[in-house]
């Protein structure tokens, strides 16, 4: 199998992980701010 394909195959996963981390972090921060505004605990 071509090295370029294998390189992409190895390095694509951290990129997807970074995207997922961004989505989760943004949602968490929004919920945290909302909880602060409403003077309640997040969970």
């Amino acid at each position: 199998m071509e090295p370029i394909f294998l390189t992409l195959y190895v390095l694509i996963w951290p990129v997807i992980v970074a995207g997922t981390l961004f989505v989760i972090t943004r949602a968490f921060l929004r919920e945290w701010l909302q909880a602060r505004r409403e003077h309640r605990k997040m969970v």
Binding site: T7, P14, I24, A27, V43
Partner: protein, 559 residues
């Protein structure tokens, strides 16, 4: 053994102590922010059934990314080559996705439940409940144990401390922040843990890749791979790793209380979003970590002591400098702690709701304060048991597959119980018991699997293929499509599988469990006159704390 001329890095003892104090101290301080002097029993188990998307997605992702799955994915990459991590991580990710349609159904019929076994009690009765609860106790104890083993092995490899000292440190640290607030602490700390884990994956995989030689590694290391290891469509990888996992995915998703607990905790309208995000997060992380095993294969690393569980720490110790090695340590500690705390919460919920709440306390007299005490004692005892079993250092991958297959006996009876009003308690119990009785001798080859018995195992296994594919389709497309898909897949597989499948004990054991439990459950239920009213479940499964405001009818009915 590292490649020639490459030294293994180690962290100093004080550095490891500082990192553990930072990690466990930090998570403990996080829990102080949400802690209440008087915790409530329902909050201790499900955090009030209304947590948001950010926390629930983080929690679902963190819980399913356990250290054992990181190690197993890398092992799969090292053993089966480039397709190995896919055959571990992809199916592992799909298990989260496949449960979401079932999860929505379960949540609809029991919106304020704490455990799946508790719902089985309302649906069938005590025997079904205790079967599900018992399987979860075994599964969670194995999970806790394997996470402690992973922590101990990691600390032993990267520091001057011993394996025993390592397992003691992670067990004490996890218990410290989970004990007081239970599930609420677990989901809250999961966010910090997912941040550490996913963040570390983003940095560490490219760093190891370039330190190990970058694209040149694939040119120079290619001769080290067998044709099967170098083939993206390897039949070895599929038959020995992928296929048993496909059979296990549904079982994990349905049987595991850690998933069920998060299913009952998340706001109902966020279930789909949460599960899809966790599927992507888990899949990319675990496949990515599996690439460390693939790289180890290309560069010619031999696992220390012949133990493949040492591969990940060994790759990190070989190719990462001290700073990234610290990050790596935090990543694995985060992975194992988030799952271990989820399992401690699962065990405590089962003991609180299923054992004390519905079997020990007199009907209607479960005391929430006593429940909390039961939950906390359970956590301490489970941690002790995990430490005891971890001392034996079992093979993690074998444990995972075994528990998955064990839960395979439960999958059809559990799912059918939520959709088919004719399923009876007798059908449930007989199906699970019979499947277990057939599964165990097949899985462990107690009876020689050849001759006529081998052919019987093949026929049952082909039936099992149909059941697995049918169930996967059922959640998304309904009964008609599921039946067609199940029959077609069994017919298509039959010519290839008949006469051969019994050679794969792990795979055929799982498939036999599915086939037998489905067959028995179907035959006994089809003739029953039961017509269960699912709307009654929400009236019998509800809150234990009188102060919880929602669904007052449920509490009243219970009492």
């Amino acid at each position: 053994m590292a490649p020639n001329g490459v030294e293994l890095q180690q962290l100093s003892g004080w550095m490891v102590i500082a990192l553990l104090v930072l990690f466990y101290g930090g998570t403990f301080i996080m829990t102080l922010g949400i802690g209440k002097k008087k915790e409530n029993a329902d909050g201790y188990m499900t955090a009030g059934n209304k947590i948001g998307f950010g926390i629930s997605a983080a929690s679902m992702t963190a819980t399913w990314i356990w250290a054992s799955s990181m190690y197993a994915s890398a092992t799969s990459g090292y053993t089966y080559g480039i397709s190995g991590p896919i055959h571990y991580g992809l199916w592992g990710a799909l298990m989260i996705l496949f449960i979401y349609p079932f999860g929505k159904r379960i949540r609809k019929v029991a919106p304020r439940a704490h455990t799946l076994a508790e719902v089985m009690y309302a649906r069938h009765g005590r025997a079904s409940q205790l079967m599900l609860a018992g399987s979860n106790v075994v599964g969670s104890l194995i999970s806790v144990t394997s996470n402690f083993i992973a922590g101990g092995a990691l600390i032993a490899m990267l520091s001057p401390f011993s394996f025993q000292q390592g397992i003691l440190a992670v067990a004490a640290g996890t218990l410290l922040y989970s004990l007081w607030s239970g599930f609420r602490a677990s989901v809250m700390t999961d966010f910090a843990q997912v941040l550490a884990m996913l963040g570390a994956v983003v940095i560490i995989i490219p760093m190891v890749f370039f330190a190990a030689g970058g694209p040149d590694m694939f040119v120079q290391g290619a001769p080290r791979l067998t044709p099967q290891q170098g083939n993206f469509f390897s039949s070895d990888a599929f038959m020995n790793q992928g296929a048993p996992y496909i059979a296990a995915v549904l079982a994990y998703a349905i049987g595991n209380q850690t998933i069920a607990q998060r299913l009952f905790a998340v706001r109902e309208d966020l279930i789909k979003k949460t599960f899809v995000t966790a599927t992507i997060g888990y899949g990319a992380t675990i496949i990515g970590i599996g690439m460390l095993g693939v790289m180890a294969l290309y560069v010619g690393i031999t696992p220390t002591g012949g133990d493949v569980n040492n591969l990940i720490p060994q790759m990190a110790a070989t190719y990462l400098g001290p700073v990234l090695l610290c990050l790596f340590l935090i990543m694995v500690i985060g992975a194992l702690s988030s799952t271990a705390d989820a399992d401690l919460c699962a065990l405590s919920s089962i003991m609180m709701a299923d054992i004390y709440g519905q079997n020990v306390a007199k009907r209607g007299e479960a005391n929430p304060k006593t429940m909390l005490l039961v939950g906390r004692i359970t956590m301490v005892v489970a941690t002790g048991a995990g430490l005891y079993f971890a001392s034996g250092q079992m093979n993690i991958l074998d444990l995972l597959v075994f528990v998955g297959a064990l839960w395979g006996c439960l999958v059809f009876p559990v799912i059918a119980s939520f959709y088919w009003s004719k399923v009876t308690n007798t059908a449930f119990v007989a199906a699970v018991s019979t499947a277990l009785a057939v599964f165990i001798p097949v899985r462990f080859s107690w009876i020689p699997v050849d001759g006529l018995w081998g052919l019987v195992v093949d026929v049952l296994s082909i039936g099992g293929i149909g059941v697995v594919i049918g169930l996967m389709c059922f959640g998304f497309f309904g009964g008609r499509v599921a039946r067609i898909a199940g029959i077609v897949s069994a017919v298509v597989a039959a010519p290839f599988a008949f006469g051969h499948l019994h050679d794969y004990a792990v795979l055929s054991g799982s498939l036999v469990a599915y086939a037998v439990s489905t067959g028995v459950c179907f035959l006994l239920s089809a003739r029953s006159k039961m017509d269960f009213d699912f709307s009654t479940i929400k009236d019998t499964v509800g809150d234990f704390d009188p102060t919880t405001t929602a669904v007052p009818d449920a509490a009243a009915t219970r009492r």
